[in-house]
Assembly symmetry: D2
Homo-oligomer: 406 residues x 4
C-alpha cells in the first residue's frame, strides 16, 4: 500500500518478522510486565523484558535503528523510510521498543556516540549499549528556563586541568531512574561568551560519578513510567576526564541538531502505531458494546469518529513517511520544514484519536484496564516533548515565509 | 457581576467567608495533604483534612449543600444558584470540598437519605454523614454494561423473607476506598419483569456486611485519587434487612433522576473553578517565563488562548448559573435541557482550558509540580462521568426536536 | 426564561408586538422584497419596505434603538438589555431591522448626531433620519491601511477659512449605494501632529457635495446587499462648512469609542437571531428529509449538530445579555472586556451554526432557495466587521493579563 | 519532492509547460474574463476563453484528462497520479481548466461516452466535445429527494416504441446555462421494479429537444458562476430515439460508479490548488500589511495559521496522490476507502485554509478584489458536491468496520 516509497526486500522481511514477533511475544507480555514492575518496587530490572530481548536478538531483530556500521558496531543500514515503518509497529505497545534495543533515548545516544565519539568512548559505552547490557540518558532540559530556546541553557561545563567540572540542574532525563542506566550525555555551556551556537558542549558523565544526584522521578500526568522514569538530576561539581567531551568544545548545538531529525521520525511513527491501536480498540469496543439497542459502532457519532481517525492517521503516516523520504534523499537540513510538520501533526493527531477511543470505551477507557489511559497521557505529552507545538509551528511559518521576504 | 441572578445577602456573605477560608487554609494545605496521603500508605485518614474540617465547621462553612432542613438535620437553605456559586470556589482545589463536608458522592447521598429515607435510616446514616464522621459511596455503574442506559443494570436485589439479598458487580463506586467510608447506596433490580422504569430500587448496604468485597481501586488516567479512590466492588449474596430499602421497591429510577440535576450543577461549577485556576496559572506562567526574548504571555498564540479561555469560562458559568436558576424557578424537570447542556459544555470547556494551561507550562505542566496534570485527568474524565457527552447531546437534540415532531 | 435580567413590562410588551409583527408582515415580505430589488435594478427604493415602515410606525414599533429623548427626538428609553432582546428578533430576517428604522449604520449615526451634534445638525439630519425619510452612511474604513488600528487613518480634513476640505478614499461605507442615502459621517485627521487619539475628527458630509464620488459597490462573498450596498467612495477636495464638524476638532476617536459598545450588542444579538433561525431550519429540514430510510434529524451526526448549536446559541445569548447588563449598570468602559468577548463569540458561533444548517440542507442550502447562503456570507463577514477576531482577542487578553502585570 | 510517486518524464514535461502557460496566459486573463462575462450579459461566449483554448491546443495542452485512446479520440494516456498533479495546477484559477478542455462535467461526460457510448454516439457528441466546440451537462440530482442515496431518483425514462420518453425535474445540472452546452447525460429510472441497482439508466438528451426547459440558474452562496452556471431543468415528455441510451437499460448505476473515482481525484487536486493559492495570498498579504507596528505575518496567530495551512495542504496532497496511486495500481474498487477519504479531507481542508486567508486579508478578503471570496464559496460547496461529507464518512467507517464484523 505504501510501496511507492523505496523499501528494500530486506526491510519488508524485517517488517513481517517484527509483526509476527509483536503478536507472539510482546503484546502477550504487557500484563506480566506491569505486574513485575509493581512487584519489583517499580525501579527494578523486569525479568520478562530481559527474556524478550534475548528472543528478539535471536530473531535477528536487534539494533535496527542504526543506519551506520563499523567493525564491532554493526547497524542494519536501514533508511529512515524503512526504519520509520518499523517504529510504527514497535510503537503500538508501550513496551514495544526495548525488546529490540530500539528505545529512546538510547537510540539517539548510541547514534551520537557512534558518530561523534572516539574509539575509547565507543568501546566504553557504545559497546554495552548496543549489547543491551546498560542503558543511558540525555540530560538537556532544565527546570528554570524555557528549553525550547537552547541558548537558555545554564548548566556549566568548566575546564579544570585535565578534567571538566559540571554544575547544573537538569530534569526530564528520561531513563535515568532505571537501575541499568549507567551513562548520561549532558549538555551545558563550556563558553558562555562564545558565539550563540558555539557555547554549548556535550559530555559523557557516568551516573556513578560523585556529585551526580538523582533527586526524584517526574510523573507524566500521573504515570511514573517505571522502571524507565523521568529524572530530575543535580550535577554538583561533577568532575570527569576532559576526554569525555564529545566531538570537542562548542560542538554541542551541532550534535543536538543532528539527532533531532531521526528522533522525530521515530516519535511520530510510534505515535502512529499508538493511534492505529487506538482505532482498532475503538472499532472492537464499538462492535462489542450495545447501548439503546444497537452496537455503539453503528451510532452516527462513533462512525464519524472512526472515519475522522482513519483520515487523520493515513495523512499523518504519509506525511511522516514523506519526511523520512526527504531526509533519505535530500538530507535533514533540506527536510527541516517536513520534520517540523510531523512533530506538530503526529502529536496532535494521536491525542485526538486516543481521546475518541477513550470516549467510545466509556469509564473503562480512563482506568488501568486498557492501554488507552496511558496512551492518552503519552499523547498529550508528545505535544511538549522536544519543544512545544508552538515552537515548531513558528519554524514552519518562518520557512514558509522565507520566499516572501524580499 | 452576576448580580442579575438572585443571590441573598447571606449567600454573598458565605461567598466572602469561603474565599477567605480557601486562601487562608485550603490552598496552603494542598502540599501537606499530598505528603500525608503518601506517608499514610494512600488509603488512610489524612490528618490535615480533619483539621480543615474542624476549622470550616467552626467558621460556619459546613453542610452548605443541603437546601432542606429538619430538626436535627439542618441544611443552609441555599438555592441552586447560591450553592453553585460556592461550588465554583471550592472546586478550585482538588481538596476544596471535603473541608466543608460538601464532597461528592456524600452530598448526593445525604440529600437522598434526607428526602427518601425514613427516620431510622436518617438517624443511622445521615446523622454521622452530616457530622463528617463517616463517608459513603454510590454503587450504580457496572463493568459489563453501558450504564448510560440505566435499564442495562444487572445487579439483583431479591426479597427473601425480611431481608433483601444483593448480587452484582459494581465499579466506579467512588469514595469506597476511604477507610471512613461505611455505607453504600446500591442500585439494582428488584423486579426485572416490571415496567422499564419501575424495575430498579436503591438500598442501603453497610460496607462491613458479609459478602461485600472491595476488589480493587480504579485509576483515572494514572491517578488513584487516594484516599477517596474509585472502587470495584463485588456484592455476593449480601443480605440486609428489608427496611434498608429507600422509598420502596421500584423507586430507584425515580430517586436517581432526582439527584442528577443538582449533582450536575455542582460538577459543572467545580469544573469552572478548575478552569479559572488554570487560566490564572496560564497568565502567571505566561508573565513569568521568557522565551526568545519576551514573556510567553506576549506571544500571539498565548494571548489567543487566554482570550478563548476567558470567553469559554464566562459562557459556561452563565449557562450553569442559568440552569441553576431554571431549577430554582421552574423545577428540575422543566430544566432538563439546560441540565444536559451544562454537562456537555462544562466538561469540554475545562478540558480545553486546562490543556492550554499545560501547553503554556511546557514540560512542567504534565508533571506533579502543578495542579494541572491532575486537573487534566479529571477534566477528561468529566466527559464520561454520569454518562458520556454523546448521551447528553442526544437528550438535548431530542428535546429540541420535540417541537418539530407534529 | 431570561427574567433574571431586568426587563420592564413595557419592553416585554414590545417584544410580544414585535414577534407578532415579524410573523405577520416581515417574513412574508422577504420574497417580494428580493423580487422588487431585482425588478428595480437593485439600487432602488423598494416599495414593500416603505409599506412595512408605515405599518411598523403605526404599530408603535419605531426608533426603538434610541435610549435618549429630547423634545422633537423621542427615543424609547430602552436599556441595552431590553433593546438587545429586540435586536435578536429583528435579526432573524435580513430585512428585519429597517421596517422599524432600526438598521445599521443609521442607528449609530442617529445616536451620534443626537449626542454630539448641535441643534442645527440635528434639525438638518437627525429629523429626517428619525422619520425614516433618508438614510446615512459612516465613512471610516480605508482600503490602503489596516483599519483595526484607528491611528492608521489617512483621510485628511483640513480647515480652510470657514470650511473644511476633505481628501481621502474610504470603503465599506455601508448604505451609501441606497438612493435614499443623503448624508455621510466621515472620519479623518484634522491634525496629524496631535497626540495619537486627538488627531481624528468626524464631520457631516452631504453625499451630493461636489467631489464626493461613489466609485463602486463592494460585494460580500458574492452578495451586493442591494439596495443598501457597501460603497467605495472618493472624497476629492470636498468642501463643507466648518459647522459640519461633530463635537469639535480632535474628538473623532472619542465619538468612535462611544458608539462601539451598543453597536456590538446589536450586531451580536442579530447574529443570535440568525443562528436561531438556522437551528430552526436545521430541525425542520432534518425532520422533513429522509435518507437511507430515516429522517436526517434522527442520524447521530445531525443530532450532535443540533445539540452543539443549541449549546452555543444559549451561551452566546447569555454572554451578550450579560454584557448589555454590564453596560447598563457599570458602563461601557468597565464592560470593555465583555464587549470584546461578544464580538468574537457571536460572529464565530453564528458561522458554525449556519454552516451546520447548510450541511443538513444539502445542495439546497447553498443556493438562493433558503436564507442560509446569505446568512452564511454575513456570518463569515461578521468575523471581520468592526475589526477582525484577532484584534478583539488581543483586547481580551490584554485586559485579562492586566492583573498580572505588577 | 513527490518523486516517490511514479511520474513519467512526459508528465513532468507537461507539468512544466502547464506551469508556464498558467503564468503566461491564464492568471493574466482572469480580470478580462470577469469583465467580458459582465459585458456579455453573463450567459455568453467569452472571447478571452476561446483565445486561451486556441493557445492551449497549440501548446499541446489539450484533453489531458483522457487516459484512453481510440483512432479519432486521442487521449494522453496519463495515469491518475500524473493527471491529478496537473489538476492541482489548473485548479489554482477558477478559469484554469477550460482552456485545456479539462473542465467538469465535460471530462466525466467525455470519458463516459468514450467508454460506454457506441460509435454513433461518439461521432455525434464526443467528437465536438473533444474539439472544444460544444459543452455538456450531467443531469442527476433532483430537488425533491436526497440524492446522496441514488435509489431515491424519481425521473422516469420510459420506453415508447423506438423512443424513450423522459419526465422529471433535475437541478445542479452544471454547465447547462452555457450557450455552448448542447447535450445532457440524464439519469433516471427505466424500471422502478427492478433490483435496486438495476433500475437506473443514463441517456443522451440534446438540450434543444422539445420538452427540455431550463428553469433558472442556481447560485452558489451568491455566485452564479456564469457563463457555466448551475441549472434547474424540467424534462417534460422529452422524446429521444432509443439509441440514445448509454450502455443499455439498467446500467446507469454502474456507469455512475465508474466516473466517481477519477472525478474525486480531480476535484480534490483542484481544491489543493485553490488552497496553495490561498496560502500564497496569506503570506503575501501578511508580509505587505502592517498593523500595530509590524507585519501581520509576524504576529503569532498568523504564523500559527500559515503553519497549520501548510501542514494540512501537504497531508491532503499526499493522501490524494496516494489514492490516485491506489487507483492506478489496484483499481478504483480496492481504493474505495481512499477515494471517500480524499472527498472529506480535501473539501474541509480547503475551506479552512481559505477561511484563514480571508481573515488575514480583512474586509478585502470578502469582497470581489481577490479570488478568495469566490474560492470560499466554492470550498464550502465542495463539502456537499457529490454527496455531503457525512455520507462519505459513513462509507469510510463502514469499510473500516468490515474487518470487525463477525
Amino acid at each position: 500500500m505504501y510501496d511507492h516509497f523505496p523499501i528494500s526486500d530486506r526491510a519488508k522481511e524485517l517488517r513481517e518478522k517484527l509483526i509476527a514477533f509483536m503478536d507472539a511475544h510482546v503484546f502477550p507480555a504487557e500484563a506480566t510486565y506491569a505486574e513485575q514492575v509493581e512487584a519489583g518496587g517499580r525501579w527494578c530490572v523486569v525479568p520478562v523484558m530481559e527474556e524478550l530481548k534475548e528472543k528478539a536478538r535471536a530473531a535477528g531483530l536487534w539494533n535496527m535503528f542504526l543506519p551506520h556500521s563499523k567493525p564491532g558496531y554493526e547497524g542494519m543500514g536501514l533508511s529512515n523510510v524503512e526504519y520509520g515503518m518499523l517504529c510504527e509497529l514497535m510503537g503500538r505497545s508501550s513496551i514495544g521498543s526495548e525488546p529490540f534495543n530500539c528505545s529512546a533515548p538510547d537510540t539517539g545516544n548510541m547514534e551520537t556516540i557512534f558518530l561523534y565519539g572516539d574509539d575509547a568512548q565507543r568501546e566504553a559505552w557504545l559497546k554495552p549499549l548496543m549489547a543491551g547490557e546498560i542503558r543511558s540518558c540525555f540530560s538537556m532540559t532544565e527546570p528554570e528556563v524555557a528549553s525550547s530556546d537552547a541558548t537558555n541553557i545554564q548548566t556549566e561545563i568548566r575546564r579544570d586541568g585535565d578534567d571538566y567540572v559540571i554544575n547544573g540542574r537538569k530534569w526530564w532525563s528520561s531513563g535515568a531512574m532505571d537501575p541499568r542506566c549507567k551513562i548520561a550525555i549532558v549538555m551545558g555551556k563550556t563558553d558562555p561568551t562564545a558565539e550563540k551556537h558555539r557555547q554549548q558542549s556535550m559530555i559523557l558523565v557516568p551516573l556513578d560519578t560523585p556529585g551526580v544526584t538523582v533527586v526524584r522521578p517526574l510523573k507524566v500526568i500521573g504515570y511514573d513510567h517505571a522502571p524507565h522514569g523521568h529524572a530530575e538530576i543535580i550535577y554538583d561539581n561533577v568532575r570527569v576526564p576532559a576526554s569525555n567531551i564529545l566531538l570537542g568544545e562548542g560542538r554541542g548545538f551541532e550534535i543536538a541538531q543532528g539527532r533531532l531529525g531521526p528522533g522525530r521520525i521515530h516519535h511520530c511513527m510510534r505515535s502512529i502505531g499508538q493511534a492505529e491501536r487506538a482505532l482498532q480498540a475503538m472499532c472492537e469496543r464499538g462492535m462489542a458494546r450495545t447501548a439503546f439497542g444497537k452496537p455503539i459502532a453503528d451510532m452516527g457519532v462513533t462512525k464519524h469518529w472512526i472515519a475522522e481517525s482513519r483520515c487523520e492517521i493515513e495523512q499523518a503516516r504519509l506525511l511522516t513517511m514523506h519526511a523520512a523520504y526527504m531526509m533519505d534523499t535530500v538530507g535533514n537540513k533540506a527536510a527541516r520544514k517536513e520534520i517540523a510538520m510531523i512533530k506538530v501533526v503526529g502529536a496532535n493527531m494521536v491525542q485526538r484519536v486516543v481521546d475518541r477511543a477513550m470516549q467510545v470505551h466509556g469509564a473503562q477507557g480512563v482506568c488501568q484496564d486498557t492501554f488507552l489511559a496511558g496512551a492518552f497521557a503519552n499523547a498529550r505529552t508528545m505535544r511538549l516533548v522536544d519543544g512545544p507545538d508552538e515552537v515548531h509551528r513558528e519554524t514552519i511559518a518562518k520557512l514558509e515565509l522565507k520566499a516572501y521576504r524580499n
